[in-house]
């Protein structure tokens, strides 16, 4: 299990290769990568991500450990960035390895649903029109009820 919270970009290809190499014959590997998306008006200049140093690592580790236990994962990876990111940059990734594809998929969705609403990150959008904190969505909270 590997959990990284960092300001620097990560290398998706390298992380994916490393994870696949170490997965130990699990059969199924799922990755999810989040990318900063421009807004509909095309005016997003940056996304600033604030976090809670100390608690973030702890929360991510707990979420990843829950996923490993619940979905019988061989391995799990979580990388989440903070700081100032521009459209097109990768914000975060998760990877899961399991013997059965359904478990690998479910675990990755579980990780994402929990990261969205239970890991102490806050996003702020900087646009041509001004700056604003991204509001949490009711649907993100509702997504946790599946698990």
């Amino acid at each position: 299990m590997r959990v990284l919270v960092q300001e620097a970009p990560f290398d998706l290809a390298e992380e994916t290769a490393r994870f696949a190499k170490g997965e130990g014959g699990s059969g199924a590997i799922v990755t999810f990568t989040g990318v900063v998306r421009d807004n509909d008006a095309g005016t997003l200049s940056a996304m600033e991500i604030e976090h809670y140093p100390g608690m973030t690592e702890k929360a991510l580790r707990e979420i990843a450990q829950q996923a490993v236990t619940r979905f019988e994962l061989q391995d799990a990876l979580v990388i989440h960035r903070y700081g100032r990111l521009v459209p097109g940059e990768q914000i975060m990734m998760v990877a899961t390895a399991a013997r059965h594809r359904r478990h690998a998929f479910e675990a990755a969705e579980f990780l994402m649903d929990y990261l969205k609403s239970r890991a102490p990150f806050w996003k702020r959008e900087i646009t041509a029109e001004g700056e604003a904190w991204v509001a949490a969505k009711d649907e993100d909270e509702a997504a946790l009820e599946r698990w």
């Binding site: 989440h80 969205k116 102490p120 702020r124 904190w133």
Partner: protein, 81 residues
Amino acid sequence: MDVLYFAWVRERIGLPRERVESTAATVAELVEELRGREERYEMAFSDLSALRVAVDQELTDFDAPLQGAREVAFFPPMTGG
């Protein structure tokens, strides 16, 4: 104890963390003490349903006891991922 503020809570209060001496038994009591201080606290804590709280880096609720707590953090609902 240390009290931390994040995102717009930090902006409204105007600082990221401060040392608070308090005998509040619960998070809710601590919030009441802070609201009584200045208008910027009153503004930050006006709608508790829009806030989340962590005690010693664990998410909890406003009824949580503060006995022995070293760090309390207030912030809006999280938007990770």
